[in-house]
């Protein structure tokens, strides 16, 4: 059976159906029973399909859920990985940004492209380079400092007497610079040298200053002469001071030396006197009372001698001091290097030398005298010693008389005398023996004495030789100095002549160069003057031109303004004229409009001729108005036009009539057709007024419709549209409406022209009549 087959089919298709489904069971029973009908099976089928569809729906739902979830998860994961994608999704899907924020957290900040590190490296490098260059400059400067010293001399030699304003030190500095630069590393950048050379310059300059003595600078002539005069004066002053000093010291030295010499000589005489006196006293040939006077005189002489010696010593010391002063002064004067003082210095030196020599001589004399005196004193001492010894012996022998040795002769006893004589004899023997011994030893003594004397002599000789040598040396030196002085003078003179020659040459050269320079400078100055003059001229010309231009401009402006004002006035006049004309035109148009109103219900207006004639008169010069005025149709001019109201009223008749003859045209125009069309018009029910469509379709060209449209239009006051529709009528309707159409056309035309005219008049009036 059909049902069974279907059931079987069902089982085959859906083996996994839910057995608990009751309707399926019922269906199965029914199917098995075979009493099944198509309808319940259908129901069953529907149920079963519903059940199956439930599971399939579940499957579908599950699958869709899975897909959606997978899509969401994938989107979120990918958004986590790719922020751009996340941004895109957030932009396109409305609430995805909240979802993303929930799932992933806030979006990462936008990446800023790492800008290149600013090019600080390059300036750093450059600065370091400059620093390195500076450093390299320092040792160069230092080397330059050390160089100037040895380079001075060649630099001084190298410098020719050129008339450049360079100083000697600058030239030497330059030479030092060049030499040091040749020796230095060549990697030093060029602009640095010019910057560094002035400091190096000054350093070298300072060094040069240190090494040089008073610098020979070249200065302008007056300054030079002034300087020279100053120098001369200074020299003179110094010289005068020097000579004065020298003379003073010389004088004082001479005085003291003379004093010393005198003192020495006095000492000498005193010594000599003393020695003589001593000798005399030693001789003891004089009577005893003279002896005391002798001894007194001797003492006096001795004291005198000592005094003289002391005086001499003092004087000698003073003289020596003075001599030293003088020598010091002479040395200082020698150091002052004033050449003119040289002879004086020489003379002073000679004087000094002579004084020293004299002093020495006198001193030697005094010394010899002193040695003699010493010998004599020794002798006298010996004698005194002998005497004392004798006295002592005598005193030993005769002790009681020793005090009275002076008054001996009367008071002595014979024993005393005998003992005395015996002692005397003994003493004489002894003395003889001693004498013999002495004679024997004389030779030896003499030899020894000679030796001694020789030694002393040698010493003295040496001293004398030394002093003589010194003196001779001094003499030689003085001679040499004198000779040197003479040679110097000669040389000075020669040098002066040479210098004079050189100066002459220099002045010649200077003159030439100055001439050339003068020429050059003059030319330069002339050029500059010319250029300046040109500049000034052009400037002046430009200024005058500018003035002229501005003046012309002002004049032109004023003229233009004047012209403008005149034109404005004229145009104002014209405008007023126009305004008047416009007024007139407007008034005439208004009159025309007014005449239109004179139309009655069934009769037309007055003929518009008059008003139009007035218009034509009024706007004689206005082409537009003239054209318009002529465009008014003749009929309206002569006969007047109907008003719209009358036309409207007439239209109803037209309409009625047109409806009645709607069927009549060229082909159908029998009476029967007339009757039919009348019947049609009576039996046709339609709306009287139908709003016309925007576009006319061919089916709208039906008479009745057209009339309905026209009726609608005319009821709304649109005569033109109504005329247009009426114009579409054909056949008899057209002929019937012909007159009406003509009238309508006329009215419309005239109205149009009049409206144009009034609009024109209004426009003209608006245009011309502006508030004064």
């Amino acid at each position: 059976m059909e049902g069974r087959d279907l059931a079987g089919e069902k089982f085959r298709k859906f083996p996994h159906t839910n057995a608990a489904n009751p309707c399926l069971l019922r269906c199965f029973y029914q199917c098995v029973c075979g009493k099944v009908k198509a309808h319940p099976l259908q129901l069953c089928r529907r149920y079963s399909t519903a059940g199956d569809s439930g599971s399939t729906a579940g499957k579908i739902v599950a699958a869709s859920l899975l897909t959606v979830g997978g899509g969401l998860g994938g989107t979120i994961l990918y958004a986590k990985w790719d922020p751009k994608f996340r941004a895109n999704v957030e932009k396109s899907v409305p609430y995805s940004d909240q979802l993303f924020e929930m799932a992933l957290g806030p979006p990462p900040p936008p990446l800023v492209t790492l800008q290149k590190k600013p090019g600080k490296i390059e300036p750093l490098q450059i600065s370091s380079l400059s620093e390195a260059s500076k450093e390299s400059k320092q040792p160069k400067a230092k080397a330059k400092k050390s160089d100037p010293a040895p380079v001075e001399a060649p630099a001084a030699v190298e410098e020719a007497p050129a008339p450049t304003p360079q100083t000697l030190k600058e030239a030497s500095a330059e030479a030092a610079h060049i030499i040091s630069a040749i020796g230095e590393v060549p990697s030093v950048p060029a602009p640095g040298t010019s910057d560094e050379s002035p400091p190096g310059h000054t350093a070298a300059d300072e060094e040069c200053k240190d090494h040089h003595e008073p610098v020979l600078k070249e200065r302008p002539a007056e300054e030079v002469t002034a300087r020279l005069a100053q120098q001369d004066k200074a020299e003179q002053d110094a010289l005068a001071a020097l000579t004065a000093g020298l003379e003073e010291s010389l004088g004082s030295t001479a005085k003291t030396t003379l004093q010393a010499i005198g003192a020495q000589e006095a000492a000498l005489t005193a010594i000599a006197a003393h020695t003589n006196k001593l000798k005399e006293a030693m001789d003891s040939q004089t009577p005893p009372d003279e002896k005391s006077s002798q001894w007194k005189a001797l003492n006096e002489a001795l004291s005198e001698r000592t005094r003289a010696m002391e005086e001499a010593e003092e004087a000698l010391l003073k003289a020596k001091g003075e001599l030293e002063n003088l020598s010091g002064v002479i040395n200082s004067s020698k150091q002052s290097k004033i050449n003119t003082a040289r002879p004086q210095i020489l003379a002073a030196e000679e004087n000094l030398h002579s004084m020293i020599v004299d002093l020495d001589k006198v001193v030697t004399k005094v010394q010899t005298a002193q040695t003699e005196a010493k010998i004599v004193s020794q002798y006298s001492e010996l004698v005194n010693e002998a005497k004392a010894q004798f006295q002592q012996e005598l005193a030993n022998i005769t002790p009681e008389i020793q005090a009275n040795w002076k008054r001996l002769s009367g008071k002595l006893s014979a024993d005393d005398l005998n003992s005395l004589i015996a002692h005397a004899h003994r003493r004489i023997d002894q003395l003889n023996r001693e004498l013999a011994e002495q004679r024997v030893r004389e030779q030896i003594h003499i030899e020894v004495a000679l030796e001694q004397q020789k030694l002393e002599d040698q010493k003295a000789l040496e001293r004398a030789v030394v002093s003589a040598l010194e003196h001779s040396r001094e003499d030689m030196r003085l001679e040499q100095e004198k000779k040197a002085q003479e040679v110097r003078e000669v040389m000075e003179a020669e040098m002066r002549t040479q210098l004079r020659r050189q100066a002459a040459a220099h002045t010649d050269h200077l003159r030439d160069v100055l001439k050339v320079q003068e020429q050059e400078l003059r030319e330069e100055a002339q050029e500059i003057l010319n250029s300046k003059m040109m500049e000034q001229e052009t400037h002046y010309r430009r200024l005058t031109q500018e003035q002229l231009d501005t003046f012309t401009l002002d004049m032109n402006a004023a003229y233009a303004r004047l012209k403008g004002i005149e034109e404005a006035i004229d145009s104002h006049v014209i405008a007023e004229e126009e305004a008047r004309k416009a007024h007139q035109l407007w008034l005439s148009v208004e009159a025309l409009n007014y005449t239109l109103k004179s139309a009655g219900a069934d009769f037309p207006t007055e003929p518009l001729e008059g008003a139009v004639g007035v218009i034509k008169e009024n706007c004689a010069g206005n082409e537009f108005a003239q054209a318009l005025a002529t465009a008014i149709p003749e009929e309206s001019l002569s006969r007047g036009i109907y008003s719209e109201a009358s036309l409207r009223a007439r239209f109803f008749d037209i309409r009625r009539l047109a409806r009645r003859v709607a069927l009549i045209d060229e082909t159908r125009n029998s009476l029967y057709q007339y009757f039919l069309s009348y019947l049609q018009s009576v039996l046709l029910f339609e709306r009287e007024q139908v709003a016309p469509p925007a576009k006319l379709a061919p089916e709208d060209l039906d008479t009745f419709k057209l009339l309905a449209y026209a009726n609608y239009s005319i009821e709304r006051g649109d005569l033109e549209l109504a005329a247009k529709f009426v114009n579409q009528l054909r056949g008899e309707s057209q002929r019937v409406a012909q007159d009406w159409l003509k009238e309508a056309r006329l009215t419309l035309e005239t109205k149009q022209v009049i409206s144009l005219l009034s609009a024109y008049a209004n426009a003209v009036g608006l245009g011309t009549t502006q508030a004064p």
Partner: protein, 76 residues
């Protein structure tokens, strides 16, 4: 006015119809009385003639606009 023309034509038509009808009737009557022994057929005929003529006139009058006139151009 063109609309009045139609009315005028119709007026004429009707007037003509009336005239012709009356004339026909009269002539028919006359003819029927005079010549045709008071039979009705000449009256009817006459009336009919009259009406017909009126109809035709009316029609022609109303048609007059649509009729083309031609002239034979004289040979020169």
């Amino acid at each position: 006015m063109s609309e009045k023309e139609f009315g005028q034509k119709w007026d004429r038509c009707l007037a003509d119809c009336a005239v012709k009808f009356g004339t026909g009737l009269g002539l028919g009557i006359v003819f029927s009385v005079v010549f045709f022994k008071r039979r009705t057929w000449p009256i009817v005929f006459g009336t009919g003639l009259g009406l017909g003529m009126a109809y035709s006139n009316c029609q022609n009058d109303l048609r007059s606009r649509y009729v083309l006139h031609s002239k034979v151009a004289k040979e020169q």
